[in-house]
């Protein structure tokens, strides 16, 4: 079940770019803690999205499946936190697990029948899932306040104490992100991760090896949903506000843009992508509409002009050929990330 390609270390060239990115990222975080201010918010968003995209990556990059409806699970996490902490005065650390649990249950219930679908049907079904949850958030206004959204959500905290300022919140987010990435990396190199890689390579071959394909796909879907709900819940407490708009389709497109920029199928790709994409449109600061425009356009440009990166994805998607070459994908992913940032 273990293919040599998935366990071999990346080559020297593949290591240099990430090392530079790590150094730049660390310097940025350090500067944010010293200087404070708006950069803290930006990095907070980057961390939230990195968690969300790590989940997306788990389902798409590792397992080779597709979901355009991850915003549904983020919305469930975010709204559960928001409603329970504002209307019912629940503590943050009771509301958050409940939202994540609800998202996991929904993923299980929806994923069981839906993941049998393929291609356009799976894409449209997951897209519909995101739309359904968003519509419910709009229409169920007794609970969700409709378009107005829920404001004054308490910030992160525990045991009756709220974290004192944005820097402390950022520290908490970064710790959560570190945990999320560590878990993803452990899972990737576990028995589960190898099974998922086999499924991404070829479902039929995986089945022939005795892997319960449907079950593993479902597990990956639930894991992705848990990540999305976790990110959604943290978002609610970090920003203090949720509305249906927050968890719209643009969240999905933004997530994909980050995943492509950072490198799909790699452990640290979501981090890199989330950081770069969160920093880039700060030049458009204050123009929310321009941001989504920029993300969408950037994604199209990457999809069209980064055929090398797409080649690795093509293998995942068609589930043909040999076991996925994770090292090659990582190299392609990071170089693609640089190219995306340079444009």
């Amino acid at each position: 079940m273990t293919s040599p390609a998935t366990t071999s270390p990346p080559s020297g060239r593949a290591r240099l770019a990430p090392a530079l990115l790590w150094a730049a990222g660390a310097a940025l975080v350090a500067y944010a803690f010293v200087a404070g201010g708006y950069l803290v918010t930006v990095l907070g968003f980057a961390a939230l999205y990195a968690i969300f995209v790590t989940g997306l990556n788990f389902f798409m990059g590792y397992t080779g499946q597709v979901s355009f409806g991850q915003n549904a699970f983020a919305a469930i996490g975010g709204y559960t936190s928001a409603v329970l902490t504002t209307a019912y005065n629940w503590p943050v650390f009771a509301a958050m697990p409940l939202g994540i649990g609800a998202a996991a249950l929904l993923a299980l219930a929806i994923g069981y029948p839906t993941l049998r679908l393929r291609g356009h049907y799976l894409a449209m079904a997951t897209l519909a899932l995101g739309m359904i949850v968003q519509e419910i958030a709009v229409q169920w206004d007794r609970v969700t306040m409709g378009y107005t959204g829920i404001a004054a959500i308490p910030p992160l905290g525990a045991f009756g104490r709220e974290l004192p300022n944005e820097r402390a919140q950022l520290a908490a987010l970064l710790a959560a992100l570190a945990l999320a990435v560590w878990v993803a990396s452990r899972l990737k190199h576990s028995r589960l991760g190898h099974a998922l890689a086999a499924i991404a390579g070829s479902e039929d071959a995986a089945r022939a090896l005795g892997i319960d394909v449907a079950r593993y796909k479902l597990i990956a879907f639930v894991v992705a949903a848990v990540y999305a709900a976790f990110a959604g819940s943290m978002f609610a407490h970090f920003v203090g506000f949720v509305s249906p708009e927050v968890f719209g389709l643009h969240m999905v497109v933004l997530g994909f843009t980050m995943l492509y920029v950072g490198g799909i199928g790699t452990v640290y790709g979501p981090l890199v992508g989330a950081l770069i994409i969160s920093l880039l449109p700060e030049t458009f600061r204050g123009f929310k509409e321009f941001q989504d425009l920029a993300y969408g356009a950037a994604l199209i440009v990457i999809l069209i002009y980064a055929p090398k990166g797409l080649a690795s994805l093509a293998r995942l998607w068609t589930r043909r050929g040999a076991a996925p070459d994770a090292a090659a994908a990582a190299t392609a992913g990071t170089s693609r990330g640089d190219a995306g940032a340079a444009r």
Binding site: V66, F68, I110, P113, T114, R116, L117, G119, H120, Y121, A123, M124, A125, L127, A128, L129, M131, I132, E135, I136, V138, Q139, L249, H250, V252, V253, F256, T257, E289, F290, D292, L293, Y295, G296, A297, L299, I300, L303, I304, P307, L310, L313, A314, W317, T318
Partner: protein, 292 residues
């Protein structure tokens, strides 16, 4: 019996909305048949049809028929632009279906946001095409706009049937649907057919958007729900059959109208999407279709 009247009234308006879904569904089929691509940006054509007509009407002061005509042509051109700028480069490279879906979805977002910047986020509506009193049959009122929707839709479907059966271009497009490689070998310019299918599909979507707007409203973000409804219509019809998509649209419209009676107007999109999920799971080949 007020109950029955109310029910029939609801069904009638459901059929009207269904025509619109049918037109959008046909738009999906036209592109899918020509290229094997499912264009996830289909909804922007519907949205742009209503928005551009509104802009021409209020800002440029054009009369409604002229504004509608210009809008349809403009949207058809936008369809060609999407095809050239986004779809064709990927198609040339034999990009995977997933990449194509993602790219068209991104195009959807880009156009939505451009529309938001140009026209703001306020919902807009159009005046009815004629302001005659609604037709009354028994206790049932049929709005004149509904008659417009039915008339134009049926006319378009008839014209499309003739187009695909009789004209050279229509036949070439059908040949592409059957086997693109063979069509190319027979000298049919397959790439040009792709562009043409986008123009046709975008025009159809724009007509649907212009027809429906007087009865509802339009805004920068109405596209995706319409696209999903049109996609459901296409699936109900077995994906690929234009007539099937049209019939599927009418069925969806009726089912949605019934859902509104049962659960209230707010949940009509939830109802439509749930129908989609149920159908995908139970009968992905559609009501009439054979398994792919």
């Amino acid at each position: 019996m007020p109950e029955t009247t109310f029910l029939i009234q609801t069904l009638v308006s459901g059929v009207g909305t269904g025509f619109i879904y049918g037109l959008i569904g046909i738009g999906f089929c036209v592109i899918y048949n020509a290229s094997g691509i499912v264009n996830f940006a289909q909804g922007v054509f519907v949205m742009l049809g209503g928005m551009i007509t509104h802009a021409l009407l209020t800002r440029a002061g054009l009369p409604l028929p002229l504004a509608a005509l210009v809008a349809v042509v403009a949207v058809a051109l936008i369809g060609v632009v999407i095809e050239r700028a986004v779809v064709r480069p990927l198609w040339r490279r034999n990009a995977t279906m997933f990449v194509m879906i993602l790219a068209t979805l991104a195009a959807q977002i880009v156009i939505e946001r451009l529309t938001l910047l140009a026209a703001g986020d306020q919902p807009k509506t159009l005046p009815g095409f004629s302001d005659a009193a609604p037709l009354r049959i028994g206790g049932i009122a049929i709005g004149v706009q509904l008659l417009w929707i039915a008339g134009v839709s049926l006319l378009l479907v008839g014209a499309l049937a003739l187009f695909f059966a009789r004209t050279r271009t229509g036949r070439a497009m059908r040949a592409c649907a059957i086997n693109r490689e063979a069509a190319a070998l027979m000298g049919i310019p397959v790439a040009r057919m792709l562009g043409f299918s986008f123009a046709l599909s975008a025009g159809l979507g724009a007509v649907a958007g212009i027809l429906i707007t007087p009865t509802q409203y339009t805004a920068f973000n109405v596209g995706v729900p319409f696209a999903i409804s049109g996609f459901i219509a296409a699936i109900l019809g077995g994906f690929g059959s234009a007539l099937g998509a049209f019939a599927g649209g009418i069925m969806l419209g009726v089912a949605q109208a019934l859902a509104i009676v049962l659960f209230g107007a707010g949940f009509k999109n939830v109802a439509a999407l749930s129908i989609l999920l149920l159908f995908l799971l139970a009968r992905p080949a559609g009501l009439f279709g054979k398994a792919h």
